[in-house]
Amino acid sequence: MIILNEIAQSLQKGDHKMVFELTKQAIEQNLSPKEILDDGLIAGMNVIGERFRRHEIFLPDVLVAAKAMYAGMDQLKPLLIQEGIPSRGKIVLGTVQGDLHDIGKNLVGIMLKGAGFEVIDLGKNVPPEKFIETAQTENASVIGMSALLTTTMPMMGRVTEILKEKKLDKKIKTIVGGAPVSEEYARKISADSYGFDAANAVDRVKALFKFN
């Protein structure tokens, strides 16, 4: 469909007004919301992600495209719910208890939303229980945790421990990140995944949800 291609193109240009307008038109033309999402918005974001990986474009370009994605997504969301189409995936995100550094976590949130995921951002200084309770009530299958301090890092391990104790660790996956965190540390605390930067976090979350 030409209009879906136009949505993808406008999204790549970061033209949120045009994406809004075209998504509206596509809905009026009775295209299915899933089709608009997959072949328009997500198709556009996939190109953006690939170009970013190849260093052809930079982070601001990705974020502007993500903003354009929201412009379309906001209109599609009620329709997707109405039709009973599940979201691409729901993630509970936050900076762990004792830690007030949320820049990296915010970036991950923007990028995840840009990739079509539903993000419940709990902000900073989030107690371990809060992550788990929210994931349960919101029916989210991934918890994403961020820490900048070596002193607060153990809180991530606390979350994975509680998940194990409550036998929720098969149902709710965990991904961790932040400057002092490493792949090794993630393994040590039995986190399911680790993202070394925001773009990588999106790839890893996709893998957790078993997308491409």
Partner: protein
Amino acid sequence: MRPVIKFLDEDLIKKIINEAMQILSTLGVEIHNDNVLAMLSDYGMKIEKDTKKVYLNEDIIQRALNSSPASFKLFDVLERETHHFSEYNIYFTPGSAALNILDHSSQKMRKPNTTDYVNYAKLVSRLENIASQSTAFIPADVHEKISDSYRLFLSLLYGEKPVVTGTFTIEAFQIMKELQLAIRGTKENLQEKPLTVFSCCPTSPLRWSDVTSQNVVDCAEYGIPVEFIAMPLSGFMAPVTIVGTLIQHTAETLSGIVISQLDKPGAPMLFGGSPAIFDVRYETTPMGAIETMMIDCAYNEIGKYLGLPTQAYICLSDAKLLDAQAGLESATGATLAALSGINNISGPGMLDFESCQSLEKLVLDNEICGMSLRLIKGIEPKEDFPSQPIFQELLEEQHLLISDHTRKYLKEEQYFPGLVIDRANRSRWKEEGSQTLGERAHREVERLIQEYQPSELSDETKKEMIHLMENEAHRVGQDRLPQRKP
């Protein structure tokens, strides 16, 4: 404000120039070329026939300086302006005339061939911070009598950028001029839109060979710009002090200016050089020595004081491999040269005392040059006052990544090097193969050569150049030119 560094105050510059003039008038300069001596004699200069020595008085030097152009431009093969050598404008060009190249696969130095040169020309065409080509190394698979012109031929055939070059013989000037005329059409057009710069090197101390002095005259005749490459060696073929070396460098360069300007007033020239200190431990001429670079920056100040555009061999290294020394010496040189405003900065790609080119180093240096070009743009306010709106936005949005201000100024404020300089975090670096700088550089070389787009020079002109070069090969007894990749 464009940042500038200086090593000499005006008084010292005047004293150095005055001293250099005294040397030329009292001790003279040897010029082993009868035509040039005859010309200088016609101007009333005292000549010693036996020693080929000529004594240049202050009046004649001043006369030459008065007609020296303060600036000139270069144009590519398609006649687009690429350089304006003037004031503090800077341009990078690869180090030239290496005998060897560093082979990436074997990590050994070897003699280069036509394929290497073609790859080099393709690579330079893709390097955004390298403004001109240079005839960077000498292909060993052609007769040595055409090894100078053949380099120029390949550069003009594959690349569009202007070329810094030079001849090894008097005869070679003919074909090197013909190749340029094939592109420009007429002598007048070549004069109006110079395509090359010829390096002309006096021999220290205070001597011009037959070949180099004739080159100066021949270039002047065709309006081909020259760069004088005086090479005093501090403590060996020049006084050990930097000031003493500068006096000698100035005297040698002034003698070149006299030859050029008396032959053709207004002929374009660069006040250049490749001086060095002499390392008495190893009997070598370290181009990466900080004192060598200080000499370069200082004679550039003298050239500027005399009202001439300048050149130096400075963004290069004495390392044998693409190692930390190679990076640090080249980057120090590029930075100092940029801050000094040396107009034509020669050196990128070069290792081992100007004797070995490396394509991998060239792509690294291209990124170093990019940083230097950013450096000299300095720090300028851009919608920074009043600052309250941007900070308000920051506090509201909690980041400025997609702010209009960021989007507008990001690429102006920050230079993004290519993939050779590593700025990934460790995890990403590991995920991308834990590559060394050399490996990343090699990957870039391969990618850029792959992306090469042929020169847009007309096929007709290319054919004419091939015809000219084949004839030249025949002239020296070589049946055919080596096979070339498209």
